[in-house]
Structures are given as C-alpha cells and as structure tokens.
Symmetry: C2
Subunit: 187 residues, 2 copies
C-alpha cells in the first residue's frame, strides 16, 4: 500500500481541487475519499502547500503525456489541433469540473509560491504544444506561433469556465464552434 496510498491521495486531491479549488481542498474530506485519516496524509506530504504543488505538477505532467499521445494518434498537426478542445472538454464531462489550473489561477493571491510555479508550468505546456502544432500545420508563421497559441489557450480556458458556470457542456461545444467560425481556431 505504500506507493498506492500516495497515488490515491494525489488522484483524489486532484478531483477535489478541480471542483472546489485550493481553498476548498481539506484534509478531512480528502482522507475520507482515500479511506484513511487526515493525519495520515502527513506521512506522504509535509504540508498542504506541498501536497497541492505535487498535485499541480502531476496535473501538467499528465497533460503533457496526454497531448503527446493525442498528436501521435492522428495523421498530421492540423488534425491534432482540431482535437485540442477535447482535452478541456473532459474536465466538464467529469461532473462539470474545471481545469485545475484555471481554478488555481483565480486563487493565485492565496496560493503558496511552490503551487503558483506549477500552475504556470501547466500553461507553458499547453502553449508550447499548441505553438508547435500551429507551425507544423503551417497555420501561422513561427514568429507568431506563441502569441496565437496563448490566445487559443486563454480562449479555451474561458469557454470551459463559462460552460461550468452554466453547467452546460453543449455551451462549451458551441463556443468552440464559434472560435472556429471566427477564425481563432483552425477550422
């Protein structure tokens, strides 16, 4: 159970934080979700800040793997870009949850520094993947790829947030369609 419990804590903490944020993540509920006692979490993580940093780090690591896998499953860069919104859709499918790092971006004033750093890393991973794909697909010039990638990332984050506030995943889909129609996302 050694490594297993730590992994279970990370997984459960991610689910809680995607629904209730850093401030809404508490040791008692987290422990209950894992099936242990609150104090036992301290055997695996020295503090709430360290736990949250580990969760956020794992979150962007998982996302990086997922994005690479998505690119591999598809014939070309354009097709991979077309599937990018699906990555953010999955959080909404999971009980109307939000991207962990969108939630933590809102909470940034109350976040320990070690957590903030991981939140920024998540954005960096997304922007880098998008920029690479935009260039490979020949959609934008290399010197303008990062700006466009950031715009796509920000817009998709906003669409997810708005859909969450209405608990309406079809709103997310129509927002993505609108981004395509307007020319922000490649059609």
């Amino acid at each position: 159970m050694s490594t297993n419990s730590k992994e279970a804590i990370l997984a459960a903490a991610r689910q809680i934080a995607q629904a209730h944020g850093y401030s809404g993540l508490n040791f008692r509920d987290l422990a209950a979700a894992v099936g242990i006692k609150a104090a036992s979490i301290y055997h695996h993580f020295p503090s709430k800040a360290d736990l949250a940093a580990a969760v956020a780090k794992r979150y962007w690591e998982d996302t990086a793997v997922e994005l690479e896998a998505m690119a591999d499953q598809v014939p070309n860069a354009a097709a991979a870009l077309r599937r990018y919104p699906q990555a953010f859709r999955r959080a909404l499918e999971n009980d109307n949850r939000l991207c962990l790092c969108s939630f933590m971006s809102a909470e940034v004033d109350d976040l320990p520094d070690i957590v903030k750093a991981e939140v920024r890393a998540f954005a960096d991973v997304n922007v880098a993947w998008l920029a690479k794909g935009l260039v490979a697909a020949g959609i934008v010039a290399p010197d303008k790829a990062e700006a466009r990638a950031r715009a796509i990332f920000a817009a998709i984050s906003g669409a997810q947030l708005m859909a969450r506030s209405r608990a309406d995943i079809t709103l997310y889909d129509t927002l993505v369609d609108s981004y395509r129609a307007a020319g922000l996302l490649p059609a």
Copy 2:
C-alpha cells in the same frame, strides 16, 4: 452613516471577492476594511449568502451602467466594441484582480443558489450588450450575434484569467491583440 455603511460593505466585499473569491470572503476582514465589527454586518445583511448575492447583483448592475456609458461616449457601435476589453482590463489594473463572476464561476459548486443566479445575470448583461453592438456595427447577422457575443465574452474572461495568473497586464493586452488579429474581435 446608515446607508453609507451598507454601501461601504458592498464596495469592500466586492474588492475582497475579486481577489479571494466567495470562499475567501470573511466577515472579520470585511468588517475591518469598513471600520466596523464583524457582527455589525448582520445588521445590514442576514447571511453571507445574502451579502454575496447583493454584491454580485450590484456588480452586474454597475457593469450594465458602465457598458451603456461606454457606448454613449463613442460615435458608433464599432468604436464601442473596440473599447469592450477595457472594461475587463480595469480589474487587472486594480491590483491584478479578477472579474467577480469569473471567480465565482470557478467556485460554482460551493455557491448558494441565490448567488449563482446573479453570476449568470452578469454574463447575460455582457452577452446582450455585445450582441446588440455586433448587430449595430453590421459585423454579424442578427441570428448569429448571440453566439459570437458569447465567444467574445468567454475569450475575454479567459484572457483576464491567464493574465492574472502571471500578474502581467501586458499579457492581457497582447491576448486582446491576438483575438483581433485572428478575427474573433473586430479590428
């Protein structure tokens, strides 16, 4: 001081909630900001839920007035639309704060129902104003105005959130520029 205190509470609560969210809004800090005692807030608002609902309601009311004023100060609908991002820029100028309703959208799982309703009303106000302007400026057909308005609102919210996470208001400006370059926002 009668009406004055109530207004002061609303104003201070808005500032706090835009920086720390609904969960980070507490009666002691709020009272201290106003210069009264925590218990005295209950003389004006029966509960935290009622207070937050009043704050959110006042927030969209103020926004509606501000948007109308913005439209009036400018010769035509296209010029008004061009200034829309400025409304969201002001929160960032105010100590890197976030739109109250973006924060509360993230927190939607833990929000009292009466607060949720006001959060949705804020989005409705923005979308209605944008849709009206888009039609008046002849940028989109009336039957497609609302979809485009929603896309703009979501994208601008996302840009503000991303800029906040980096505490970088110039990032907000470049995101807005990218939206224009990509065709989401009218140039």
